[in-house]
Amino acid sequence: MGVTALPEECIATIISFTSPRDACRDALVSRMFGSAAGSDLVWNRFLPPDYQQIISESVSSGSSSSSSSSLNNLSKKDLYFHLCHNPILIGNGNRSFAIDKLSGKKCYMLGARELSIIWGDTPQYWDWTPSAEMPVSLPQSRFSEVAHLLDVCWLDIKGRIETNILSPNTRYGAYFVYTFVSLAVKGEDEKYYNTGLDRPVKVSIRFENENEGNATNAYLLPDTPEEHDGRHPHMREDMWMEIEIGEFFTDQVHGMVEMCLMEIENGNWKSGLVVHGIELRPK
């Protein structure tokens, strides 16, 4: 007897208390189980509780595959995976929202325009390149603009996000997502010669009402030797690079969290950095 006596809806309820990974795997158990595992009841529970509101507020990017009406037409399972692989633009188009595949928790990315970049408004220091005009050799941006560092001594980039929009009771990591213009330049040895960023930057993260936390060294250049003490960058699937700024836990207590990337000590000129944004995702 066992579970075969259970109606499909009960099986779906049981599966909904497992995980997305389990639900995918359970499709192979038996016909009924598989049907239950793919049902809206299950995947509705895996989606973030306020997903519908977020989708309805999304900025229609023009492509109909991401407009809220077409998203609402998908089954909950399809919607889940769509949001895993296709971040949607929200806010005024300077933030994106996606879902972490394994946990169903929310992922946000703050675009470069959402960040506070010191000297960012001074054209001889920073250039705001529309994504459409980026060199083809560089990865695509999901936002309308990226920040291109022409020349600066005082590198100071900060991002802020309200923790109450993130998934509660979750450990989040904040990642600075960037690349270098000089990647496009051919010539082995001269690749990063001019960036001034072979020395580490300092990254730190803190809740808004707390004192400055400890800053960690972070090496932005990808071929930095591993022995150098500090964070090292990783290449993402979307071909941008990322480096961890820090991590924090979303309890209901704290409000705003501030992420910081700075190089203000060396006094040298830095250039060539292209900023995509800061991504927050569950660890």
Binding site: L6, C10, S19, A27, S69, S75, F81, M241
Partner: protein
């Protein structure tokens, strides 16, 4: 005085009872406030006026046998008391669900038929903890479920939205396996036995995949986006070579039969994804492409034969190598495949 007289004299002192009848015919009395905790019983009492006497006992659904009823009433008896703290309730629940899996299932079923949602949730969560992390085979064993998916359904190709070479190889493995299944069927009907040299390794591999951790295919989190199978599409354009092994008629016939069968399966998977959306003309071509791509994937197995033998060998070698690698470092492979989409590869190379 008789009991009846006492009831008349002190109605406030006496509890009222509700009569319940289980499917096996046995009837029992239950305190009203306890019974009313179940929405279904509540409905019967209030809307239909049943349960006030033995003759008008409320007939409980078939899924509620006396043993389950007793458990459910215990649950109701505890929880219907308003004064209890959350901690007490939680503590009771934790002790309450300590029972074997079979009983948990029966209890879920019974509670569901009585619409007692809190109990359904409680037992469901307990069952969820049991099935979490288990393979399909283990789950079938625990719950005595039939293995009623056809081989082909299990070997549905993975959707390869990111054109991951591992998924491509896996799909190719599946295509090969499907082809072997077809061949086996063909041979069965002719009653000829052949030694298929490759068979064992693919079998082992796939039973390892399907049995041990057969959820690999589903781990790759099938995706709703269109599949980029340009390779497959190219192959589909080749026509079946009539000079091949079987006679032209036979091969065409079996191909048709298979594609009918496979089209059906294909269609079944597509049905899930195709929703009627009147305004979404731009989406439909995607879905159709996907369906097309899927069919192409299925045909892959047949068309393998037409590939230049050298290329075919290389592909086979790739597949075998993949199989071997899968076998040898399975845990790491699993982690890789699981973290598909989240992989952060440390940069040691750069152009």
């Amino acid at each position: 005085m008789s009991e009846v007289d006492m009831q008349v004299i002190k109605p406030e002192m006496m509890k009222s009872y509700i009569w319940l009848q289980t499917a096996d015919g046995s009837i029992q009395q239950v305190e009203q406030e306890v019974a009313m905790f179940c929405p279904m019983i509540c409905h019967e009492i209030l809307q239909k006026g049943m349960g006030s006497s033995k003759n008008y006992a409320i007939s409980l659904p078939q899924r509620v046998n006396p043993a389950m009823l007793s458990l459910i009433l215990d649950y109701c008896r505890f929880h219907q008391v308003p004064g209890r703290s959350n901690k007490e309730r939680k503590s009771f629940d934790e002790r309450f669900i300590r029972m074997d899996t079979k009983r948990l299932c029966e209890l879920t079923s019974a509670a569901d038929s009585l619409q007692l949602k809190p109990l359904v949730d409680l037992t469901s969560r307990a069952l969820a903890r049991i099935i979490e992390g288990k393979t399909p085979e283990e789950i079938r064993e625990i719950f005595h479920l039939p293995d009623d998916l056809t081989e082909e359904e299990k070997l549905e190709p993975l959707k390869n939205s990111t054109d991951d070479p591992r998924i491509r190889l896996l799909n190719r493995l599946y295509a090969r396996k499907r082809k072997e299944l077809k061949e086996r069927d063909k041979l069965k009907s002719v009653e000829a036995e052949e030694d298929r040299v490759d068979d064992r390794s693919v079998d082992d591999l796939l039973s390892f995949i399907n049995g041990g951790n057969g959820e690999v295919r589903k781990f790759c989190f099938t995706d709703s986006k269109g599949v980029k199978t340009s390779k497959g599409k190219k192959k589909n354009r080749r026509r079946k070579d009539p000079q091949k092994n079987a006679s032209a008629d036979e091969s065409v016939e079996s191909h048709e039969k298979d594609s009918n069968c496979l089209n059906f399966i294909c269609h079944r998977t597509e049905v899930d994804k195709l929703r009627p959306h009147p305004g979404e003309t731009s989406k439909l071509p995607d879905e159709e492409d996907e369906a097309f791509a899927h069919k192409v994937e299925f045909d892959d197995g047949d068309i393998d034969d037409e590939i230049d033998p050298a290329l075919k060998e290389e592909i086979d070698r790739e597949v075998e190598d993949f199989a071997r690698r899968l076998n040898s470092d399975w845990p790491e492979r699993m982690q890789e495949i699981l973290s598909l989409g989240q992989e952060r590869r440390p940069v040691h190379f750069f152009h």
